[in-house]
């Protein structure tokens, strides 16, 4: 459902993404990890057609997102890293607006909007201007907007940031349910526990290159540690273990 072929993106002389070959199947919940500035958001913007690849291509549902953007984007639901929405619309109007952009029709439309507002605990404030929402409420509304047209591919950039524990739990359950229903979920996150528990496969990107990709078992095998957590594997692959000694020494100094 999501396929990248030799995908590269450079900004001037800086390589943001290099030769990314990835395939995510229907029903998969794919976790995309990497340190800050590794190229996660750039990859997501390439997948959603917001950036043009320097080399390579992106296929969504079999359509090249840059050659046939309207057809490819019709498959997509996208949750950006910043929930910047139209402040002067109400929550309900915003969902209706998104439904129109995705050309949603049928009797389920209003019902679907009502269900999503209910699901994310927004029905009471659904008729208030988005301007009055907190960051967490905006994040929930952004997720609901990505689901309003029942997408076949869902791409989320840091979706749990700003959510309260209940909404984060709801989101995780929703993502699991969508994946089991055949929706392809591609999610970038810094919360490794979520990725470890939820994702069927995990990809780790560092300095623009995909340095590991597979199920948890495959990653453990790659790291040659049977009991390693995703955090251990992530630090091993992207660096960071060297700081452990410094932290230990700092702790000893403080204790003495």
């Amino acid at each position: 459902m999501i396929r990248t072929e030799g995908l590269s993106k450079t900004f001037g002389t800086r390589v943001a993404v290099e030769d990314l070959n990835l395939e995510v199947e229907p029903g998969e919940l794919f976790g995309f990890l990497g340190p800050n500035g590794a190229g996660k958001t750039t990859t997501i913007r390439l997948l959603t057609g917001l950036l043009r690849p320097t080399v390579g291509r992106v296929l969504i549902g079999g359509y090249d997102i840059h050659r046939e953007p309207v057809r490819a984007k019709a498959f997509l639901g996208y949750v950006p890293d910043q929930p910047v929405l139209y402040e002067k619309l109400t929550g309900r109007e915003f969902l209706s607006f998104m439904a129109d952009l995705y050309r949603v029709d049928g009797t389920r439309r209003d019902q679907r909007i009502g269900e999503l507002l209910e699901l994310f605990d927004l029905s009471e404030r659904g008729d208030d201007l988005i301007q009055s929402y907190s960051r967490g409420m905006k994040q929930k509304l952004a997720v609901a907007a990505a689901l309003v047209h029942e997408p076949r591919v869902l791409i989320l950039d840091e979706p749990t940031v700003g959510l309260d524990p209940r909404s984060a739990r709801v989101l995780k359950d929703v993502l699991r349910a969508l994946a089991s229903g055949g929706v392809t979920v591609f999610m970038s996150t810094h919360v490794l526990e979520i990725a470890e528990r939820m994702c069927t496969r995990v990809g780790i990107i560092d300095r623009g290159c995909l340095i590991a990709c597979g199920t948890m078992e495959e990653l453990r095998a790659q790291a040659q540690e049977d009991t390693a957590t995703l955090e251990d594997i992530f630090l091993e692959l992207t660096g960071g273990t060297e700081y452990e000694e410094v932290i230990r020494l700092l702790g000893e100094e403080t204790a003495s």
Partner: protein, 559 residues
């Protein structure tokens, strides 16, 4: 608390004094201009009231009471103007320092009582508005004393009067915040502040343009008559009148009367101050949300329940273009800043037309054919001015939301068409009102009004589209203020396109008007020119820039 006040002053002083280069020079220039302004107000006031005193000395005693009233009216007018400015400043300052201030959590977390924090904030409000007292009320009062020959103690009273004026405006302005908190949600405070600022600016602009035209050459008695038309300047319950009476009685040697009038103003100030202190600080501590939000939510819920009772077609599907147009209309219509700014623009443009037409205190527009051309030009300029403001930034206004919009299966052309339709719908309303108004005002009758209305309808989509297209070529997504999301290049391009479109339209209109002398065909060519150029102006930017948007990356900032 005194330490806190000292720190506040230190922070303020550093923000003013510790500036280098151009900023320091600008501060110095502003300070010098302030001093010059104060001196000018003092001299102007002294001159005016010296003339009044001269007139009074030449009339018989039986006319003296009328002239005494004239003196109070003039003085009351000055105080009314000063107090109004101070009140607006105090209201705005209370908005900023008491509710939008970023240091509130810090101060409330410190070992200070709410009352102490409130007192510090109240002092900030007084400091903010005292500037106007120094620039207007105090020099005018001193000038009055110098003009009528007040005794030495008059000048001490003048300072006391200025102090009481600061206190009165600060207390009333702070109290008004309590009302504002009841009705304005916290997230709309800044928006309302900006809107009020624009409206106030428009009012002062009108005053600055029309005032000198009408007031030039007026005698003191005519000026006093003009002041008499403002109810708050000449009634016994107006603080402006009380201050005027205090100054007048002091200047004429009656210290007891002066103190009585000043006491009345002080008592009034004290009442407002007490109300502020008792009521406002509670709301201030509870926060904006704590004071009026519950009621507002109830009202919103009721409105939502009413809306849900309206039957809606369950199987409807909105076109993306119309949805985008509706979103554009909602976004602009619900933003008070947009309305206020548009009104400001209309006022400025209106003044540009009205002021040159004023002759001997009357407005005289050109009549006949020249009047018709003038009305068409006025309609075009008004639409172009509003479009520069509303349409040029239509894409830039999206800000970070642009990414979300571009991730949807909607083409660039559809996005631009939606924006053009939405903004045109908003532009057409004032365009038609102005067209009908000008058509009737210029004596052309209903036929001229209808023609002008048709002209507005024909040109509005083209003007909007040219601006939306120019703005979409290089939008500024990163500006925090949506009104600043226009690049200078886009502005210049839109002005050039508007000028070109205006030239073609002028040629078309000229051919249509010249038709009777040059045959029917030239009239048809003129009509085709007007309609054809309008269709091109409306369609071409949408098609061409829409393709350009699809061909380029959707970024909102440089990576």
């Amino acid at each position: 608390m005194s330490r806190l006040l000292a720190w506040k002053f230190r922070v303020f002083w550093r923000s003013v004094a510790r500036r280098s280069g151009a900023a320091a020079a600008a501060n110095l220039i502003v300070a010098l201009l302030g001093i010059l302004w104060t001196v000018a107000v003092f001299l102007g006031s002294r001159h005016l009231f010296a003339r009044v005193a001269l007139v009074m000395s030449r009339v018989p005693p039986e006319g003296g009471s009328t002239l005494a009233g004239m003196e109070s009216l003039l003085l009351s007018g000055v105080y009314l103007l000063g107090l109004t400015i101070c009140l607006f400043t105090a209201f705005g300052a209370a908005f900023v320092t008491m509710y939008s201030s970023s240091d509130l959590p810090l101060l409330f977390a410190a070992p200070l009582t709410v009352r102490q924090v409130f007192a510090v904030k109240f002092a900030e409000v007084l400091a903010a508005e005292s500037l106007w007292v120094v620039l207007l009320i105090l020099p005018a009062t001193l000038g009055y004393g110098a003009g009528v020959g007040g005794a030495w103690w008059y000048y001490l009273m003048a300072f006391l009067l200025a102090l009481i004026a600061v206190f009165l405006s600060g207390a009333v302005g702070t109290c008004l915040n309590l009302l504002a908190m009841r009705f304005i949600p916290p997230y709309r405070v800044k928006e309302l502040g900006a809107a009020l600022g624009s409206l106030l600016g428009a009012a002062f602009y009108v005053l600055s343009q029309l005032g000198p035209r009408y007031a030039a050459g007026m005698s003191p008695s005519e000026l006093a008559k003009l002041m008499g038309r403002f109810p708050l300047a000449n009634v016994g319950y107006s603080p402006a009148w009380w201050l005027a009476e205090a100054a007048r009685t002091a200047a004429h040697g009656s210290v007891n009367d002066c103190l009585a009038w000043l006491g009345l103003v002080a008592a009034c100030s004290l009442v407002f101050f007490m109300v502020s202190f008792v009521l406002v600080q509670e709301a201030f501590y509870g926060g904006w949300a704590g004071s009026g939000e519950v009621r507002r939510r109830e009202r919103r819920r009721k409105a939502a329940a009413r809306a849900s009772r309206v039957p809606r077609s369950a199987a409807r599907r909105g076109s993306p273009v119309l949805t985008l147009a509706a979103k554009e209309v909602r976004s602009i219509a619900r933003d008070m800043r947009e309305w206020a700014q548009a009104l400001y623009l209309l006022v400025v443009m209106g003044m540009a037309w009205i002021v040159p037409a004023i002759r001997n205190g009357e407005i005289r527009f050109p009549a006949g054919g020249a009047g018709s051309y003038a009305s068409l030009a006025a309609i075009y300029m008004m639409l172009a001015g509003l479009a520069t403001y509303l349409a040029l930034g239509a894409v830039g206004r999206e800000g970070e939301s642009w990414l979300l919009l571009r991730a949807t299966p909607v083409s660039g052309q559809e996005i631009l068409l939606g924006k053009v339709l939405g903004v045109t719908a908003l532009l057409v309303i004032p365009g038609l009102v102005l067209a009908l108004g000008l058509g009737l005002a210029l004596g052309g009758g209903s036929r001229a009004a209808l023609l002008a209305g048709a002209f507005a309808l024909v040109v509005a989509p083209g003007i909007t589209s040219l601006n939306v297209g120019a703005g979409a070529l290089r939008p500024v997504f990163s500006a925090r203020d949506p009104r600043k999301r226009i690049s200078s290049g886009a502005l210049l391009l839109s002005l050039a396109l508007e000028a070109g479109y205006a030239a073609v339209l002028a040629a078309g209109v000229w051919m249509m008007a010249a038709g009777s002398a040059m045959g029917i065909w030239i009239r048809i060519v003129g009509l085709v020119t007007v309609l054809g150029s309008s269709a091109c102006a409306a369609a071409a930017p949408v098609v061409l820039v829409g393709r350009y948007l699809d061909a380029r990356e959707s970024v909102v900032s440089n990576p």
